[in-house]
Amino acid sequence: MTDFKQLLHLLSTSKVDFILVGGMAATVHGATRLTQDLDIVYSRSHANLERLAAALAPYQPYLRGAPLGLPFRWDAATLERGLNFTLTTSLGDLDLLGEITGGGGYEDLVSHSSPIEVFGETCRCLDLPALIQVKRAAGRPRDLEVLAELEALLEERRRLDQL
């Protein structure tokens, strides 16, 4: 089980530059679906990689699904060499995405995200129209129901704005 509250608190208080995407972003916008992991797009600046590596180090980050004992060193250099990491941690599953299909990286997405207040901390979340756009770009059949819910949410929010 993923402790979303702790993970968000950890990333925010560690001053990691990231944007919530995926299922958690959908939850923030009001979606009702269950999601198992936290997906974030993180800034690839060197300072941010250092902050991200230091923040997660105490929580045993490891490649999800990889055989135990695989040589995996968790540090900024590993983050620098890779791009997208699907991790398991002692706080739960965390996907660190350097880029996402149809959206690009942190710098491309930051102008399509907004700061949100979560459990007393501020972090950025991908805006609903952009979330819909990247889900459409991914083109995965399993996202069709998700997309339907997100588009319905957008319609509901627009309806509320008109009241």
């Binding site: 979303f4 509250k5 009702t32 399509h112 207040e117 129209p129 339907a148």
Partner: protein, 63 residues
């Protein structure tokens, strides 16, 4: 990325799926704060995990 505020043309498959969306749940959720939405998700996750464990126990018991 293209401007997300420019509406995409409707996807007929998504439009079909949209008919099955329970909007009463969405409206209820929109009345909640972001913190409440995340806490609800964590409750749901705990419930799903408990049900999974109960299913496993039941299968083990039958063996």
């Amino acid at each position: 990325m293209p401007d997300p505020d420019q509406p995409l043309p409707p996807d007929p498959v998504v439009e079909l799926y949209k008919q099955g969306v329970d909007r009463t749940l969405l409206r209820q959720n929109l009345r909640r704060s972001v913190d409440e939405r995340i806490l609800n998700l964590m409750d749901l996750q705990r419930l799903a995990e408990e049900l999974r464990r109960a299913g496993q126990r039941s299968r083990d018991h039958r063996r």
